[in-house]
């Protein structure tokens, strides 16, 4: 009994205490990953055999133009914000100008059956929304924007 109690004893070295909990979590994650593979692996393998990767991806119904367009536009928008804002720092111009462009581009990317009326709506939305957001947050609430 005493031996068992000794097994449960833990001495924590303060200098290395930052690694204790992350290490336990990493071991648990590895164990759980193995358990998931052991329980679900056979099922995945069977699915893989019956339908290949291409067929499985097709079932996700990916609208490539809109998805990849959005995934490219968004980081470009984020990356452009600070450099544009550096021309007039601390007034949120970077956010405002890039949001005009991004707002219109995203609407244009997402719209179906575009026509003149929709284009005018998108342009108005791309002008009004960022201006409103910028005015409320940067001016009324005095929140820092790029």
């Amino acid at each position: 009994m005493e031996n068992f109690a000794d097994l449960l004893k833990v001495q924590i070295d303060f200098d290395r205490s930052h690694l204790l909990f992350p290490t336990i979590i990493e071991w648990l994650l590895a164990g759980l990953a193995l358990a998931i593979i052991a329980t679900h692996g056979r099922c995945w393998l069977a699915q893989w055999r019956t339908s290949g990767l291409r067929a499985r991806v097709q079932t996700w119904q990916i609208d490539k133009r809109r998805l990849f367009g959005c995934l490219i536009l968004t980081p470009v928008y984020f990356a452009a914000m600070e450099p544009v804002g550096s021309f007039y720092p601390n007034v949120g111009v970077g956010f405002l100008l890039t949001s005009y462009v991004y707002g219109f581009a995203l609407s244009w990317l997402f719209v179906h059956d575009n026509n003149r009326r929709k284009t005018v709506l998108m342009a108005l939305n791309a002008l009004i929304t960022p201006t409103l957001v910028w005015f409320v947050f940067a001016h009324l609430f005095r929140i820092t924007l790029p």
């Binding site: 109690a5 449960l8 004893k9 833990v10 001495q11 924590i12 303060f14 200098d15 205490s17 930052h18 690694l19 204790l20 909990f21 992350p22 979590i25 648990l28 994650l29 759980l32 990953a33 358990a35 998931i36 329980t39 996700w60 119904q61 609208d63 809109r66 998805l67 367009g69 959005c70 995934l71 968004t74 980081p75 984020f78 914000m81 600070e82 956010f95 949001s99 991004y102 707002g103 995203l106 609407s107 997402f110 719209v111 929709k118 709506l121 998108m122 939305n125 791309a126 929304t129 960022p130 957001v133 409320v136 947050f137 009324l140 609430f141 005095r142 929140i143 820092t144 924007l145 790029p146």
Partner: protein
């Protein structure tokens, strides 16, 4: 009393009203949820004090949950996950020429559910907090462990649920072991070269906004951003609403609101579980169970009373234990952190004014929700026709403002938004469970401190089993939670096998 009255100025109630209206609009638009409403509108609270900020957020929460009934009834698409069962009888009522009647039944039931859960919160949270004050680090760690097992047990797969929660904890540990919590200030998990950006780990709010805002936009982009609604919505009524429809519905209302409130108290459990349980119970106990699914008003009553019951219920563990009851209250934790307030057992006793003002805000939000939706439902219904290509650019901009401003202008927080937008989008496709991940991320740092400090103080792992009768009781709860989960998953598997064999 004076302090409470000072906080309850005109602007307080204006913010409750504004939050509720914005929340209703978010909830009413398919694809936008109450969680998204709170996450996206968080930057609006940066310039407000805690009481006024909470007024806005509680309005958003109540409005967001309630607004989900509008598209559920009118176009058969749940506005929020918790209004899934509202479609079962709400939409058939619309097809039978009773859309306004169905909407008003839902609105009245929502008010009852919301007020019922607020009352439970008011009486129950302080009691639970008083009990939890006596907890040492050992019991606090076990409470977190219990919360994680409950969340995981309600996931599609127990193992994947636990894995997602553990992954959330692991991500939360990135950065230095905080010296303010008794850590040694050393960096872990990431290489030294990333420390300029990740010394303090990922910020909570950009992570939440990314998971609940950006990932939704990516998901919609993947599906092609198709608006699944009619060009116009008309509430032509063959039969008008009359209060007598609630005759004999007292038991259904109380049972459904209780189920919603109780499920809300379980950490991390989403609204759909509450409404599905309440709906199935209403059907099982009804003498006219065959009418459910064909436009039977008690179905709408059960669904809406339960999903609004969640609002107060989910705030109970948040305010008494510091554990969020659902993903929306997880975002609320961010708002408290922003104001320098730590939610947990001491919250109510240390912030009595905020607690009272919060309760008044919750009741006011429910009343505003009722009045706005009751009298303006014809106008609100039109919001579901606003096309997504006009909505999403604004959502993205609000997400950026929220992330950038959280630490007063750190561009890395905006990139955090993008990273976790992708994690949410791709992770769900790979089977990751977002709710356990979030709860794991929020509770991870506390779990570490409680675990390590318990071991430093007592020097043995056995302390987690022998510290007190409460610790033993918590282990029993953990065992029941895991045992129930294994049992229910096996049962579901057997049922699926029987159904497959029958086909």
């Amino acid at each position: 009393m004076d302090a409470i009255l000072n906080s309850l100025d005109a602007s307080y109630f204006l913010l409750v009203g504004l939050g509720t209206i914005i929340g209703i609009l978010f909830g009413a638009i398919p694809g936008m949820t109450a969680t998204m409403a709170v996450a996206v509108c968080l930057p609006m609270t940066y310039a407000l004090d805690i009481n006024h900020g909470l007024a806005l957020l509680l309005g958003l929460y109540v409005g967001g949950i309630s607004g989900g009934l509008v598209p559920a009834i009118l176009i058969n698409i749940p506005g929020t996950p918790s209004s899934i069962t509202t479609t079962f009888d709400g939409y058939p009522m619309t097809r039978n020429g009773e859309p306004e009647k169905a909407l008003k039944i839902g609105i009245a039931a929502s008010l009852f559910g919301g007020l019922f859960s607020a009352a439970v919160l008011f009486w129950f949270a302080p009691t639970l907090a008083d009990w939890a004050i006596k907890f040492s680090y050992v019991e606090k760690f076990l409470i977190i462990l219990f919360a994680l097992t409950v969340i995981a047990s309600l996931s599609k797969s127990l193992l994947v649920g636990i894995f997602s929660g553990m992954l959330g904890i692991w991500v939360s540990l990135i950065g230095v072991y905080d010296m303010r919590s008794g850590g040694n200030g050393e960096l872990r998990i990431i290489p030294e070269m990333l420390s300029p950006w990740l010394e303090n780990g990922f910020s909570l709010l950009p992570l939440l906004i990314g998971l609940f805002g950006l990932s939704v936009v990516f998901e919609e982009a993947q599906k092609g951003c198709i608006d699944e609604h009619a060009e116009s919505v008309k509430l032509a009524a063959k039969k008008r609403f009359q209060w007598r429809v609630f005759k004999g519905q007292g038991t259904n209302l109380v049972r459904s609101a209780s189920i919603g409130t109780f499920i809300g108290m379980l950490p991390g459990v989403g609204g759909s579980a509450a409404s599905v349980l309440a709906y199935s119970q209403a059907k099982n106990f009804s003498r006219e169970s065959e009418k459910f699914g064909s436009g039977h008003p008690p179905g709408v009553v059960a669904s809406e009373a339960s999903n609004n019951g969640l609002t107060g219920g989910a705030l109970v563990p948040l305010l008494s234990l510091g554990i969020p009851g659902d993903s929306t209250t997880a975002v609320l934790i961010g708002a408290f952190t922003l104001q320098g307030i730590q939610v947990g057992p001491l919250f109510i006793s240390e912030n009595p004014v905020t607690w009272d003002v919060m309760m008044i805000g919750l009741v006011a939000a429910n009343l505003v929700m009722f009045l706005v939706m009751w009298f303006a439902i014809r106008h609100i219904a039109k919001v579901i026709t606003v096309p997504k290509y006009l909505l999403y650019p604004g959502v993205m901009m609000m997400c950026v403002v929220g992330a950038y401003a959280i630490n007063s202008g750190i561009m890395f927080d905006v990139w955090t938004l993008f990273i976790f937008g992708l994690v949410g989008f791709v992770g769900v496709k790979l089977g990751l469970e977002i709710a356990p991940f979030i709860i794991g991320f929020i509770l991870g740092p506390s779990a570490e401190v409680y675990f390590v400090k318990s071991l430093e103080s007592f020097g043995t792992l056995s302390i987690f089993f022998t510290k007190s009768p409460i610790a033993v009781f918590l282990w029993v709860l953990i065992a029941v939670s895991v045992g129930y989960s294994i049992y229910s998953h096996r049962k579901a598997k057997r049922l699926a096998a029987v159904q497959a064999a029958g086909q």
